[in-house]
Symmetry: C2
């Protein structure tokens, strides 16, 4: 996942506000809008080399922030837990009361197992 | 909550890794360990004024990062939802099947209501 589009998109979502406007714009157009360097250069009114530099600097800054803070990793743990709780809660509709209790216990353990 | 010790502590927990070592150390000793400026100065081997400057710069950097990214606010929303789901799951043990289904529906709505 480290180098996937999804990760690039999450990095921008979490930390994009810490980039310069130009870095954020070039990175977004490249990774989210899938524009070529030439297209971005035209849209931003800077050279292709300038676009390239902005994307590289943005990548490096975003990666460094996540390496230092680990907030995406932490947030993802919680999101995974919520996804799993969602599935469990969906099952309760078609269960006996005993089974529902068991599922409720699993949900409680899932929540208690999350890091603070 | 904005100016509370809890908020200062969360700011350090989330974004402390983005401060300089000295800023992080002074801020931590002041807000989490409750040491005086003189005590921190002695422990860090810098002047009281140096301690004060480091704390102020750390405060301003941490506040700016949260204002820009809003990640603590976002994380807290998820934590509140988990707390509420926990309470609901606890109730399932003492409920009829119909009531359990209703609670499960509330849990699903709670999860679906969270921002991505």
């Amino acid at each position: 996942m480290e180098d996937s589009r999804l990760m690039q998109s999450m990095l921008l979502d979490f930390y994009g506000a810490l980039l310069t406007d130009k870095q954020r714009q070039c990175y977004d157009l490249h990774y989210n809008e899938d524009l070529s360097l030439s297209e971005i250069a035209e849209q931003c009114g800077i050279s292709r080399q300038g676009v390239w530099d902005n994307i590289r600097r943005a990548e490096s800054a975003l990666k460094e922030i996540e390496e230092k803070t680990g907030l995406i990793r932490r947030f993802q743990g919680t999101r995974e837990a919520l996804k799993s709780i969602r599935k469990q809660a969906e099952q309760i509709g078609s269960m006996t009361q005993g089974q529902s209790r068991e599922i409720a216990g699993q949900i409680l353990r899932e929540i208690d197992g999350l890091e603070d």
